[in-house]
Amino acid sequence: MKKLFTFIVILVSAQYLLFAADSYYFQRAEEAYEKKDLDLCLKYCQEGVKENEKDGKCWAVIAEIYSKRAYARYGQALQAAEKALKTLPKKDTYWRAFVYNIQGNVFYKIEDLPSAKQAYLEAVKLMPDNTSFLYELADVCNDLKHYDEAITYYKRILEISPRTVYVYGTLAYAYYRSGNSEEAERYCNLTDALADGENNMVHQLRSKMAFDEGNLALACREAVTAMFGKNEWCEEADTLIKTCPDLLMAAVRNEVMKAPTSESSNAMAAFCSYKLNRFMETLYYLHKKLEQTEEPQNVYPELATLYEFVDGTEDTERYYALVLKNDTSALAWEQYAGSLYHKADFAKAEWTYRRALEKAPTNGMHYYWIARCRYQQEDYTAALQALDTAQVLVDDNEQLSVLLIRAEIYRSMEQEDKVKPIVEQVLRSRKPDDHRYQYFYADALAGNTDALVSKIDSVQKNNPENLIALASAFALMKDKEHVLDVLKRHYESGFWSTIALRNSKRYAFLRGDADFEALLTQVESNRAAQLEKLRVRLGNKEKQQAIAELPFTQQGGVCRVQCAINGLPLFFVFDTGAADVSISSVEANFMLKNGYLTNADFMGKQNYVTATGEIHEGTIINLREVRVGDVVLRDIKASVIKNQSAPLLLGQTCFRRFGTVEVDNNAQVIRLFMQ
């Protein structure tokens, strides 16, 4: 028996029959690999090559593991691959191709594309029908702009596996990049026809092509369709957001209307409108998302933040209260503290930052913010103390903020001798391509007005969210003219908040200034109108959508409503727990005899579990017309219960045609809202 088993094993491993049997260590490594324990797998392979330096498979696996991003030991991976290729028999095409592919992957990761291409070519030469190798090769050709070759390899994949629909899309891209729009369009059409709905890549490409043609509306529509399809932002939208933000927003509005009650659709719409700085619309879509979601705790932080953006202080408080009910992490406290700082409640903000510190005592930025709270309250000593701790704890990126606020505090303390070295240190460290907004403050503290002025247009165009930092930098310099100019641009870009400006120390010099006040008052008045509009829109929406109202009566603890089935008025028990509409055999017989039902309406039988757990058999019928209030529903599945005293139930087959069903006990009506 044992012999037979061995024989079978050898037969099954026919492809390796020609070569030496797998070593013990390789076998153990294989087991570990299957269990996804890569460290153990690596260990066994290392043992394997220690025992036998010519164990090519072990070298191959070492190369594979080192080539992974988690290990990223690319040099060692290449060395192992070399050794594998030297030791693996020439006839072992499978393993040799595998190793060449690893080599290709490593070269690709270290951006040596010509070598990657060469390695992939070797892999493909050995296994010409392996679509994964072909795909890698085609991709690298694409990156090298060797489009004709890429196209050849993509087409080869399609010959081998015609259903790999994404390859049609990739081919379309390759043709587009090679300047052959006609073929690109042809492959877009093929993807449309064959992709079975998964053609977001084509929408993205069409967006690019439309943009090239100058058809911005089409470009926006296609980009948004792609984004909603894959539920993530796409690079085409980055271009469009700068060129035609209004149209992009219109495309979002149009897209969300295709599935107005879908959580993901509203979430995507909220995300897009946020990217477009349409914060009122973001709020609207977040509320819609909140209505649909089963996990409201995930939406509360978003709503809290957005209300903070538009100075909706009461709502901000309300949603942070809900956030903290579910989440008392450092991040939740930190965000709440941020909102308190924003509305100038500095003492409470500091207290809240300290709560965050309890959860994350080594987070230096919490000390930074405590310092800022103290600074706003003009307690400079305490502020500087907190900054000392912050400076020790924060990472290199955050040092910039800590240093600059320290300089600002020294400026307020009129200790100019301490300001200068800090600013010089910061400006010395600035690299030419580093456009972080913190450097605005460095320029401001150094008095570089021209440098700041030269940035206004580009910041407005590329990073409008940084305009407020730029305005604050001018404020540090007490440059009213530029503060007002930049603030106007900031508000034109879709921002609404004024609270911080009214309370920040930086803007103290403008308090009482007529122009500054006029600007803020104007923004506040527009904001109030917009918030009111939003409230009306959210408040009225349900009323607008309620398409039917059913009066009901309470009898024996149940709601009874009147509906008409195929024209026959009947009283039903309103029962959202019932799976479908059910009528008793008495009514069914009556309806059949009097022509309200025909034989064609009977569809078959179905077993039923009642609320008491009993199983009953029922006949299934099709109700051609169910009139619920003013709404007519067609083709509703219903059951006839073989029980003469069975109540008539109005259940889910009817109600799931509506989005929401609301029972108003005071008005004694059931309201039905459309999906």
């Binding site: 093929l190 026809a193 064959l194 058809n215 927003m249 607008q544």
Partner: protein, 553 residues
């Protein structure tokens, strides 16, 4: 190409001598076929999956899965299973292989890849050269590609293999038609008719083809006779366009023919839409309404109700009856966007903005088509414009652009809004986009665009080409609007008179439309409008006396 599933599922027996794994007799295959026959695709797929698990090379299982995928419009999967079927079908199974290549032809045709489609059609032909439908497909494909020589070649082959098939003669007629040899083409149709069974689909097709040819040969009366015969056998199908053309040439004969059909076959309501349209083309609105009203008690036809409501509002001026009809229709079916859109229009024209806005919101809830969405937003945008809420108007017009990205004129409307908002930068951007949109299509700017640009001379010149159909009330009306805006008041009044003369009866719209503001103080304008208003009142009264509005509305 005819779908092959039916042949496959209902064929009693199969050519055997196949490889063992190609079977229809296994338990799973039988269950799958039973389920597929009763259109229970889900069950069929379950059994086919089981079959393929045990017998992955069963070509027939792949064929049926492919077919079901076609039916479910899952074309990627259909492609894969068709390819698999071809892989496992023995080379001797020509008929099935031909069908599979036919599948591939259809898939690529659908993807507008005619080169690939042609290649597969050729392979299908190679497998089964006697299959006439392949040649028919070749003829259609080359006709679409405008290759007369190829159409002729394949039509001849069609006839060679299937000399008794009337379709082959129709194909020959198509080839002759493409070479403008209409008399010969007609003779081929004559022969097709001789071959075709009475009352058959082939006869219907041959009659329709001959009707088209007779029209091209400028023999409209004979063309009409064939068209009516074809209609009697198989309904209208693709004959609508031809009827429209004949209506332009011999309108009275068309009307008489339709009335005769109505008389001879009153229960078949297919004539209704055409008769209605014919009356509309003749500007005989009252007759159109009367025709529909006569059948409405017995047939609830939402589409016709909408059409009539629109005519009542725009061409008879009876907005009250239009509203009643639409509200009544809503009580029958409250989930149709069209009625809400028409009510949005009606209320907006009457200045009942709150109600119109409500209708727009409701229409949007009921999953409107793109063209309907366009109407909803354009009307709402215009309402905002009228209420001086320009930003909201811009947003709606932009959404219209998203729905119809090639609607170049919209950019100028948006530019106009920005102009009213004194936003010169955005106005300039919108104008530039508008110019580019026209340029992309190689078109000159429209008259309305020149109006927004303030180029009076160009607007006047472009306006001269606005009326393409002298009988079209709306074309005259639109021209009047352009002329009024650029100060050609007298000519504008004349165009408005032509619009009213040709049936424009929407006095609410005239009163509301800001484009006509330059004319409002002119006595001629007031007199003209009043005269036609009186005529409209009379028309309304006449219609009401003829139709039984109480019956339904």
């Amino acid at each position: 190409m005819k779908r092959i599933l039916l042949t496959f599922l209902f064929a009693g027996s199969f050519a055997f001598g196949l490889m063992a794994e190609n079977t229809l007799d296994s338990y799973n295959m039988r269950r799958a076929i039973d389920a597929a026959r009763s259109n229970d695709d889900e069950t069929a797929i379950q059994f086919l999956a089981k079959e393929l698990e045990y017998n992955p090379n069963n070509a027939y299982a792949h064929i049926i899965v492919a077919e079901i995928c076609f039916r479910m419009k899952s074309y990627g999967a259909a492609l894969e299973y068709t390819q698999n079927a071809l892989k496992y079908l023995p080379k001797t199974e020509h008929s099935e292989r031909c069908d599979m290549y036919g599948n591939l032809y259809e898939l690529y045709l659908m993807a507008k890849d005619t080169t690939r489609a042609m290649e597969y059609l050729e392979l299908a032909r190679k497998e089964n050269p006697k299959n006439g439908s392949i040649y028919n497909a070749f003829v259609s494909l080359h006709e679409e590609l405008n290759n007369p020589a190829e159409v002729l070649r394949y039509a001849q082959l069609y006839m060679k293999f299937l000399p008794d098939n009337p379709g082959a003669y129709v194909a020959m007629a198509t080839a002759m038609k493409m070479e403008e040899r209409y008399d010969e083409a007609i003779r081929f149709c004559d022969r097709a008719l001789l071959k075709a069974e009475p009352e058959s689909k082939e006869r219907c097709i041959a009659l329709l083809s001959r009707a088209q040819l007779l029209h091209l040969a400028k023999r409209p009366s004979e063309s009409l006779a064939d068209l009516m015969q074809s209609f009697r056998i198989g309904g209208w199908g693709e004959s609508e366009k031809l009827l429209g053309k004949l209506n332009d040439t011999i309108p009275n004969e068309v009307l008489d023919s339709l009335l005769a059909i109505r008389q001879s076959d009153p229960d078949n309501l297919d004539w209704l839409y055409y008769l209605y349209n014919t009356y509309i083309d003749r500007n005989e609105y009252a007759n159109a309404v009367q025709t529909v009203f006569e059948i409405l008690p017995g047939h609830s036809n939402g589409y016709m109700v909408n059409a009539i409501a629109s005519v009542l509002q725009h061409n008879i001026g009876d907005a009250e009856l239009a509203e009643r009809m639409l509200l009544k229709q809503l009580s029958v079916d409250s989930t149709n966007a069209s009625q809400y859109i028409l009510l949005e229009d009606l209320y907006s024209q009457q200045g009942r903005y709150a109600e119109a806005m409500e209708m727009a919101d409701k229409a949007l809830l009921f999953d409107p088509e793109d063209n309907q969405k366009y109407s909803i937003y354009i009307m709402r945008g215009r309402m905002y414009e009228y209420k001086h809420e320009y930003q909201a108007a811009v947003e709606d017009f932009q959404t219209c652009l998203i729905v119809e990205p090639d609607e170049d004129g919209l950019w100028f409307r948006i530019a106009k809004m920005y102009g009213l908002m004194n936003d010169s930068v955005k106005r300039a951007e919108a104008l530039e986009q508008g110019r580019q949109a026209f340029a992309r299509k190689g078109k000159n700017l429209s008259a309305a665009a020149y109006v927004v640009l303030g180029d009076t001379a160009a607007a006047y010149e472009a306006a001269q080409g606005m009326v393409k159909n002298e009988k079209s009330d709306t074309q005259h009306y639109n021209k009047a609007c352009v002329l009024a805006q650029i100060g050609y008041s007298k000519e504008a009044i004349e165009e408005l008179r032509l619009a009213l003369e040709n049936g424009f009866c929407n006095f609410y719209h005239i009163a509301w439309d800001a484009d006509l503001n330059n004319l409002r103080d002119m006595p001629e304008f007031v007199e003209l409008v009043n005269t036609y208003k009186q005529r409209s009142e009379q028309q309304k009264a006449d219609l009401r006396s003829k139709i039984d509005t109480e019956l339904n509305y």
